[in-house]
Symmetry: C2
Subunit: 355 residues, 2 copies
């Protein structure tokens, strides 16, 4: 496992290697936060309504259906395609069942998906996060209970434009020291903008950092997004090992779960991301995780500097870094015996078709 950095125990790698029946979920939602200029690189502000739907479509149907092309990032002049393509490489190589989950989308994908009954999140600057988070949570929990009867481990990615800002909002409302520590999909991380949006969310609700430490549903209502509460529900309903395939955004559901059940056992949960996130000098994923609980983190090195495709090379230059479960997907490919050259070859084939 030379291309995987282990933070904590590697016990779960061995557990997963012995299991043969996975499902890869992608929890999707939109929020009005992604419409704030310069806050995300996951497409232009208007485009972000379509980003998750296009991600699900390209993975399941090998084509964009809701718009002519998938999302790409042009931030800092380093153009790169949606990380959905990196995830698709693993999905296709290992023939993994891929299940999109709608936690609260503006635009739903033109493929089959699981509906959790949520609506898109609001604009945190107006003090509005997620409506009725309990509904999303309960439906997600029930779905994971059912799915755990079908498969023996679950990988959970997400597609949620501007999701690191809502992650910051949730963490601050719960009292975590997270400002300037969440990662982002652009090379330059707009911490001041993210912090100001989160400050506004709390101020509008007369809430101080930490005030909602015991009320994570309220924290999601004022400063979170539909994806995080859905993933928290999936984690609490699952009866099989769960790989949280993502970076900073996966700390939000972990913090919610911890707040709902202080004794929650994280032994069957891990966070798997890219080294691009783990090494991100503009952020500190491990510090946030360590504040929450003893959760094992794995960082897979995608080695995309070795690719011949410029759009993939730009990941190694710090663009995008993670998303749609890409880091966890690469981690999963490695622990299931796929070599880096094999993985990159497949990612290149897919990228040349869609970018």
């Amino acid at each position: 496992m030379e291309n995987i950095k282990v933070f904590g125990s590697d016990e779960m790698i061995k557990t997963i290697q012995q299991k043969e029946n996975p499902a890869f979920l992608c929890v999707m939602s939109n929020t009005a936060v992604s419409k704030i200029p310069k806050i995300t690189g996951a497409g232009s502000p208007e485009f972000t309504s379509y980003t998750p739907a296009l991600d699900a479509e390209v993975i399941l149907k090998d084509m964009a259906l809701s718009l002519p092309n998938i999302a790409s990032t042009d931030a800092d002049e380093l153009s790169a395609p949606s990380p959905a393509l990196l995830t698709k490489a693993t999905i296709d190589l290992l023939n993994i069942p891929f299940i999109p989950i709608n936690a609260g989308l503006e635009v739903t994908p033109k493929v089959p998906y699981v509906e959790l009954g949520g609506v898109p999140g609001g604009d945190l600057r107006e003090g509005v996060g997620v409506k009725d988070p309990q509904i999303i949570f309960e439906n997600a929990k029930k779905y994971a209970e059912v799915l755990s009867k079908c498969v023996d481990h679950i990988i959970i990615g997400e597609s949620t434009p501007a999701g690191t800002t809502t992650t910051l909002g949730l963490l601050v409302a719960l009292g975590y020291d997270a400002k300037n520590k969440v990662s982002g999909c652009m090379v330059t991380n707009p911490h001041e903008l993210k912090n100001s949006v989160v400050d506004a969310a709390l101020e509008k609700n007369n809430v101080k950092p930490g005030d909602l430490a015991d009320d994570p549903f309220k924290a999601v209502e004022i400063a979170g997004d539909p994806t995080m509460i859905a993933i928290a529900g999936l984690m609490m309903g699952a009866d099989v090992p769960v790989i949280l395939a993502g970076g900073s955004q996966m700390t939000a559901p972990c913090a919610i779960v911890k707040a709902l059940d202080a004794d929650f056992n994280f032994d069957n949960i891990c966070i798997a991301t890219t080294t691009y996130v783990a090494n991100d000098e503009t952020a500190n994923l491990l510090d946030i995780v360590n504040q929450i609980a003893d959760i094992n983190v794995f960082a897979a090195d995608p080695l995309l500097q070795n690719s011949d495709v410029v759009g993939l090379q730009n990941y190694a230059r710090g663009n995008i870094k993670e998303g749609v479960g890409a880091g966890g997907a690469i981690f999963y490919a490695y622990i299931k015996g796929v070599t880096s050259p094999e993985y990159i070859k497949k990612a290149e084939e897919i990228t040349e078709k869609h970018f």
Copy 2:
């Protein structure tokens, strides 16, 4: 298997007995046909909008959520509860994953479900069946492809008020001799009403019986319902054995599949229903099946005359007979070793709670 009548080969029973990883789907939709007075017993005309959602809720959450109570039939003064309760008995006894599928509902359930992108069906008397049936079909096909990677056999039930009328419409449009042969959920089968609705559907579209033998999508558009085209898609996408858990209504997807692919291999497909449907003197399931293809049919005897609960006894008096996959569920319980007394005891516990 003394309580199962076999029409054809029993090979598939042996196949299923060796498999251990099932999923039970319930494909749900509404149509305006169920609002025609006296055409269905699945709740009063207005109530039928809620019938499928309540069925899914009671099975997954053990309570009605969208209205205070589940559907029941009072036709012919023999009151009986929704067959969802009979299905639930098997689901609970054998701990089977249950997945509701929305093919085109007016009221969606307050539980997680799979969305196929359909809308409710129209009023056949106005010549309107299903809008964009290809979308539902393609999404269902893709979903079955994915699900086949998770489980090793699939059981498909349905909840579609007035679905025998739309089944008749589809079959007649495709040229089958089906009038006066579809079953129904009331003791007295309103064939004249069903026939007149179907005749109107064809006349409004200037279509004669059999004109659409080669265009099943068009037949669904003018005289079908969203459920049948979804199940046809599931059948064509599935890579594992499929039990069609239902009576007359399961002939419609079989006829669609046959029309789309004359060489389709039905060896891994069977229809499993109750003896109440198979023996229904007002109908002729086997005759319809035999017109379509060489499809094995199994009829399980629920033996509900042995129950102490009047609402269940009324099934044995010819009320309801089938629905929500009940016949297939009882068949499945029997072939997996559940005895009739064990099954009835569980069905009684559930019925006493919900009816």
